[in-house]
């Protein structure tokens, strides 16, 4: 018996040799992973550093808080910054109810019929659709059919369309990630389905839902194509107002300003374009930071 086992198990020297080979392999793999990681980090850093270096000279409080002067050749970008913030808030107000209810519906009520599977596949496809398609859709529907000219509300609606699929999907998966044991507890206490959703599932899924909401709204706010045809306006000197009327008017915004700035024959000086670029990047980073903080705080409490 002993000899049979001895024959089948390789000698210690052979085992050691194999072991060394495997160690070398995993070492090489680690090196490869690290170099890829460094490469990616460098690429991202290069983008950020370039924008910061080129944008910083233009950046100061006056740049952010005043409008353009001398036919765009000087002055700040407050109207564009304000427009981008308004677009983002408007978009958030639309996607919050629609996206969350859509996600709840898909996760809890839709079931698994063939129609629902098809709908879900469509939502996934929409989430991957280039934003310019939404821009054209918004132009065809919100602008040409409803408001007849570009406007803040048409821009918000278009951005909302763009952000919704991702929000529906993140909401759905945040809800599905809530442990069944919480749901069972709610049901066993005599709660109705809706009560369980409202009191047990949504609070537990909230961090995931909010993260999805903020990230995709922030992403939408940085997109130029959806608002190019639906909301944007080359800077006008019309007085800025805060009222319901402003929703019907076109609105200057950062991505539009950038697109204009790079148009052939643009009069906007390069310094201002880089400053705009930096502002937009900071705006989006700020929003992502908010999402990260929300998630980190929720993580601390989430022990399951």
């Amino acid at each position: 018996m002993a000899s049979v086992i001895g024959d089948r198990i390789p000698s210690r020297a052979k085992l050691a040799a194999r072991d060394a080979r495997r160690k070398l392999n995993s070492r090489l793999f680690e090196v490869w992973l690290w170099s890829m990681g460094v490469l990616i980090t460098l690429a991202i850093l290069a983008v950020i550093v370039t924008i910061v270096i080129k944008g910083l000279p233009a950046m100061n409080w006056e740049f952010l808080s005043t409008g353009p002067k001398e036919g765009m050749k000087e002055g700040g970008i407050w109207p564009m910054l304000r427009g981008s913030i308004l677009l983002m808030i408007g978009t958030l107000l639309i996607v919050l109810p629609v996206g969350v209810f859509g996600g709840v519906f898909l996760a809890e009520y839709a079931g698994t019929s063939r129609l629902v599977t098809l709908v879900r596949a469509c939502v996934v496809a929409l989430a991957g659709t280039p934003s310019v398609i939404y821009g054209l859709f918004g132009l065809a529907v919100f602008v040409l059919l409803i408001t007849k000219h570009t406007s803040l509300i048409a821009g918000c609606l278009t951005l909302a369309m763009f952000a919704l699929p991702v929000i529906v999907l993140t909401t759905e998966s945040a809800i599905k990630a809530v442990p069944e044991s919480f749901v069972e507890a709610g049901v066993s206490l005599g709660m109705s389905k809706w009560q369980v959703i409202r009191k047990v599932i949504l609070p537990a899924a909230l961090p995931g839902i909010v993260t999805g909401l903020v990230l995709s709204t922030g992403r939408a706010a940085g997109e130029a194509p959806p608002i190019l045809f639906t909301a944007g306006i080359y800077y006008s000197t019309a007085k800025l107002t805060f009222d319901l009327e402003m929703f019907k008017k076109p609105v200057a915004n950062l991505p539009y300003h950038l697109a204009e700035g790079y148009r052939q024959g643009s009069v906007i000086p390069e310094k201002i374009i880089w400053g705009t670029c930096l502002t937009l990047m900071l705006l989006v980073l700020l929003i992502n930071l908010a999402a990260i903080i929300v998630r980190a705080r929720a993580r601390k409490r989430q022990v399951w």
Binding site: F182, E184, S188, G190, M191, S192, Q302, V303, W304
Partner: protein, 260 residues
């Protein structure tokens, strides 16, 4: 069976000839049993014999499983709980449940208990305070959490404390019956001891139906024991008779530890 308890008002749960199926798989076969009010009844038997299935058919948690169906009659307080008139939410308030793995909601200790009374009966702050305190006391958790139960996160409690919190949570809506599915199997011996003491304490005011695979536990806490095997109720009677004078060979083999 259990002839000495024939008086009708003593019977709280009555099952007659219950078959239960998960799709084609039959989990219960002709189960007939009468469970006695304000006592502890233990359901014992090897794993997979249908204890949980029977327990979960009493508060209709099984309704949530696609393809689950049953035949036969289950009555609580003389009412068919599967009748069309049954108010499912009300049934589940009357028949509380404690699960194998403690499953408090991911919120404060206070909120865990206050949630159901607030939702169901619209109690205000002052009444809720009383309800929460009483429920914590009844569940023998008050002394351990009285300083910070309004702030303390439920998931920061130990496993045993979490399970007592789950008991407090169901006590807060004053059920008649409390179902417990292996409530100690995820707990250490000291926590188990505390829950067993609590179960004994609660009987008298509540009917407790407790699934356990621990026969010693059944011996310690219950007045009646039902032995299930392969989906059938093999034998049912006072715990003493089941352990001391089992009528069937199967029961004797199981309680003496020869199988299962």
């Amino acid at each position: 069976m259990v002839s000495e308890i024939a008086s009708r008002e003593n019977i709280v749960v009555e099952a007659k000839d219950v078959d239960f199926y998960y799709g084609k798989n039959q989990a219960l076969k002709g189960v007939t049993i009468q469970i006695i009010r304000n006592k502890v009844t233990c359901l014992i038997g090897p794993s997979g014999c249908g204890k949980s299935t029977f327990l979960r058919s009493l508060n209709r948690m099984n309704d949530r499983i696609a393809g689950a169906r049953h035949t036969g009659l289950i009555e609580i307080d003389g009412e068919n709980i599967y009748s069309r008139k049954t108010d499912l939410m009300q049934l589940r308030r009357k028949v509380g449940m404690v699960f194998q793995k403690p499953n408090p909601f991911p919120t404060t200790v206070y909120e865990n208990i206050a949630m159901a009374p607030r939702i169901h009966y619209g109690f205000g702050e002052r009444e809720l305070n009383e309800i929460v305190e009483t429920a914590l006391q009844k569940a023998a958790l008050w002394d351990e959490v009285k300083d910070d139960y309004k702030r303390k996160h439920a998931l920061a409690l130990s496993g045993g404390q979490q399970q007592r919190l789950c008991i407090a949570r169901t006590l807060a809506i004053n059920p008649e019956i409390i179902l417990m599915d292996e409530p100690c199997s995820a707990l250490d011996p000291i926590s188990t001891y505390k829950i067993e003491e609590l179960i004994k304490e609660l009987s008298g005011d509540y009917t407790l139906i407790v699934v356990t695979h621990n026969m010693h536990q059944a011996g310690r806490i219950s007045s009646h024991t039902a032995f299930f095997n392969l989906g059938e109720l093999v034998e049912y009677g006072t715990t003493e008779s089941i352990f001391q004078r089992p009528a069937k060979r199967e029961t004797e083999d199981y309680v003496s530890g020869r199988f299962g």
